[in-house]
Amino acid sequence: MSAYWKANQRRLAPWLFLAPGLIMFAVYVIAPIFQSMWISFYDWDGLGEAKWIGTANYAELAGDPNMVTSFKNNIIWLALYMLSVPAGLLIAIFLNQTVRGIRLYKSLFFFPFVISQVVVGLIFSWFYAPGFGLLYKVIEFFTGTGVAILADPDLVTYGIIAAGLWPQIAYVMILYLTGLNNVAPDQVEAARLDGAKGWRMLWYVILPQLRPATFIAVVVTVIGALRSFDLVSIMTSGGPFGSSRVLSYYMYETALSEYGYRMGYGAAIAVVLFGIMMVFISGFIWKMWRDETER
């Protein structure tokens, strides 16, 4: 045994030491994905006997109006969340100045990024609160009647997304600020000598060098938009009348909340969400892989 170990140590050691991580990973990350797919073909309340019903859950999903609402909201989330990328870039470029106290100032922006989404959601709920909320009062002041954003089926999703954008823009901005620190000063100087200024400098010199930061910013924004669960859950619980549901919340609601008992149906929703995410993820991982082999 020990002779074999001595001879093959270098070949075996990596696997041995990777084993704890790998086993955990296989058991708790990879296997559950396939289990969820499997469960989605069953009718199961989580306790009793599971009954195989084939693709019936998916057939039901296709005609479920709640599913349509959730899906539509997810697309709105995704589209509006992407605004945080240009917004974060603009703020980062603006903050990349040499005025006094800028360092302390930059650190201010971390504040929404480090606190819990639960707290962010609450802050915005208070901000929108009918009667005494700040935004409610402002709208009331200008138009005469206040708008209870979180109680309005047409506005509620936008209200929640605004709350999500607040930390998300800060996050993207931080990524760009660190990216701006890595911009090669000699290239900027050379471009300046060639007469590049303002937008041209930004577009042709700075932005190409920020490509890694842009990539990460897009990745975290897409994932953030599709994972949006906390804010919906805290601010509205999917209401009013289920109009602010998103896939991640709808899944939780059907399978795991106090009203939820339909494991199979919930799993089917999760599989759909996973499928959407996989389209993006495989794109991201493919790009990372390509970049790495190029180097």
């Binding site: 030491f17 990879i30 989580g46 603006f94 903050l95 606190i115 707290v119 802050i123 909320g133 900027v188």
Partner: protein, 292 residues
């Protein structure tokens, strides 16, 4: 970080400088306003919030909302305050952060310095756990935790957070170790140093900055988590879920001042960690993402 940014910054005249300050102040107000609102309203009697202006300083200062939020407010059905849940969060966060950081460091070390066939595939699969929507694992995870007898317990939450944290910590350590000269590791191997000796004597001493990043990142993520807490928390719910229950509990009047105090209590630990060690976070974010 400022030393470098000065070279790439745009040079400006006096008029634009004044304008810049104005815009900066506006931004700052926008980002600090919520903090002010939370702070100011947490030390007011309730009547001043519902009746009066949210923005005004309290006319009667009181710490009563804080005391109640901490020890006597109604959380769900129990009038326990947030204290037990705060302790739950601490007991969950500390081991989860420690374990996931150690495993991440080992993984990063193996993946960069002990290259083997398929190592990039292993890494790519691990990245998956940073990206997947957790809904896809919720139901099977609930079943597994039930079978392990860990359902609704702090150890169960620790397990879940460790599993889904390893992807991130591995990413950090791998990118950090990738820039460490492999020749040094080779030289040590030739000198007969074993796996752990190399890790312990050569890589660990230089791992300080990235370890701090990993710890801060994991701490904020795990402390702030809501989905796993609400799905698997059971009777040992973390702070975030308790705060939600505090605010949503429908019995009687909504005591906003207590809610504000509770929100600050929930946000405080991550804010403190950030204020104390935030400098490392920025430094490490660059190190971690330079190759990402």
């Amino acid at each position: 970080m400022s030393a470098v940014s000065q070279d790439t910054a745009v040079s400006t005249g006096r008029a634009t400088r004044v304008l810049i300050y104005l815009v900066l102040i506006l931004f700052a107000l926008f980002y600090l306003l919520p903090l002010y609102v939370m702070g100011v309203n947490s030390v007011k009697p309730l009547s001043e919030i519902t009746g009066g202006n949210m923005m005004a300083l309290p006319s009667l200062w009181t710490l009563e909302p804080w005391r109640q939020a901490w020890s006597s407010a109604q959380i769900g059905v129990e009038p326990t305050g947030l204290k037990p849940y705060f302790l739950n969060s601490i007991m969950m966060v500390v081991p989860a952060v420690a374990i996931s950081t150690v495993v991440g460091a080992l993984n990063g070390y193996v993946l960069t310095k002990w290259r083997f066939r398929g190592d990039t595939w292993v890494f790519r699969l691990m990245l998956l756990s940073c990206f997947i929507p957790f809904q896809i694992v919720l139901i099977p995870m609930a079943v597994v935790l039930g079978k392990l007898g860990l359902a609704g317990s702090v150890p169960g939450l620790i397990l879940v957070h460790v599993v889904y944290g390893i992807g991130f910590t591995t990413l950090y350590f791998r990118n950090y170790y990738a820039s460490f000269p492999t020749e040094l590791v080779r030289a040590a191997m030739i000198d007969g140093a074993g796996f752990f000796r190399i890790f312990w004597r050569i890589l660990l001493p230089v791992s300080g900055p990235i370890a701090v990043v990993s710890v801060i990142w994991q701490f904020t993520n795990i402390w702030n988590d809501f989905l796993f807490g609400v799905s698997f928390g059971g009777t040992s719910q973390p702070m975030t879920v308790a705060l939600n229950n505090l605010v949503q509990s429908s019995t009687g009047v909504k005591e906003y001042n207590i809610h504000f105090a509770g929100a600050i209590l929930a946000a405080l630990p991550t804010l403190i960690v950030y204020i104390v060690a935030g400098r490392y976070f920025v430094r490490g974010l660059m190190a971690g993402s330079a190759k990402g």
